[in-house]
Symmetry: C2
Subunit: 188 residues, 2 copies
Amino acid sequence: MERAKALEIVKEQLTDHRYQHTLGVVETALKLAKKYGANEKQAELAAIFHDYAKFRPKEEMKQIIIQERMPEELLFYNSELWHAPVGAYLVENEVGINDHEVLEAIRYHTSGRPQMSLLEKIIYVADYIEPGRQFPGVDEVRQVANKNLNEALLLSIQNSIIFLVKKKRAVFPLTLETYNYFIHIKED
Amino acid sequence: MERAKALEIVKEQLTDHRYQHTLGVVETALKLAKKYGANEKQAELAAIFHDYAKFRPKEEMKQIIIQERMPEELLFYNSELWHAPVGAYLVENEVGINDHEVLEAIRYHTSGRPQMSLLEKIIYVADYIEPGRQFPGVDEVRQVANKNLNEALLLSIQNSIIFLVKKKRAVFPLTLETYNYFIHIKED
């Protein structure tokens, strides 16, 4: 799918603010794809569509999670998490994108997972550091992302877990699994 | 079992430093048991024996985990965690203590678990705040423990997770489960 067409489709699904965020993720994902040798077309497509389901009604997302037999555990955690796997489903079934790697990058862009692909890591990190993001620690992750993608990924996950735990907000078990996985491969 | 006899048994298993820590946990657990209406005898016994297996050789602990079909997952995480479930096993089989509630308080004193019993909470928190403990944040937990045991427990778990994540050390999934459980019951 051409970039212009893809952007047109996704723009309809998002607020202006979120669309600007998406453009930031596209730009950052392309830079990272060039730097780390990922397929740029896939990075662009996954970035464009990563938040496709962001503004779907909760009830619709819940139905899709149940009907598509996604991990039921999702339902016990913050609905903020749902747009990622539901997005992968809708981007396949409404938009007609069949590239499995692109869909997986959308599916895991919020939780991460152990053994993430290069493309998945790029979308996760790009979502975290795109130019519109402003929060304590983001500049450090930006700098690290220029040198070592795994370290940037780990640092974003560390920051996210610490942020959530300080605020007494739930941490999705798969995110902890991802963290535990990447501290170990860093140690290798 | 009488306190003096129990202390004599456990003293042989511990370094002087760890024995002093154990005495601190006993004192604190008794205070908390009085305050929150737990059985003092059980609190005393669980506190005395909570670190019984602390200095067992790793290989012995590993064998017990396998042979007793404890969660295999333990073996993928820091061996620091092993002395708790292995301790419960040895306190039953070497010392001859059969009180299930006491054994469970020993088993879960490091990881915690969702739906912890009052006794389990007391041992977990006493281990964290006994007078010999000195680290940032411990005084706050001591103060909270005088008012609300669940909040003190949650705060110790939050501190522990943040401490580990900052240092890129593994977090045992059951600890995260415990955290996710107690933030929710607090919200109820």
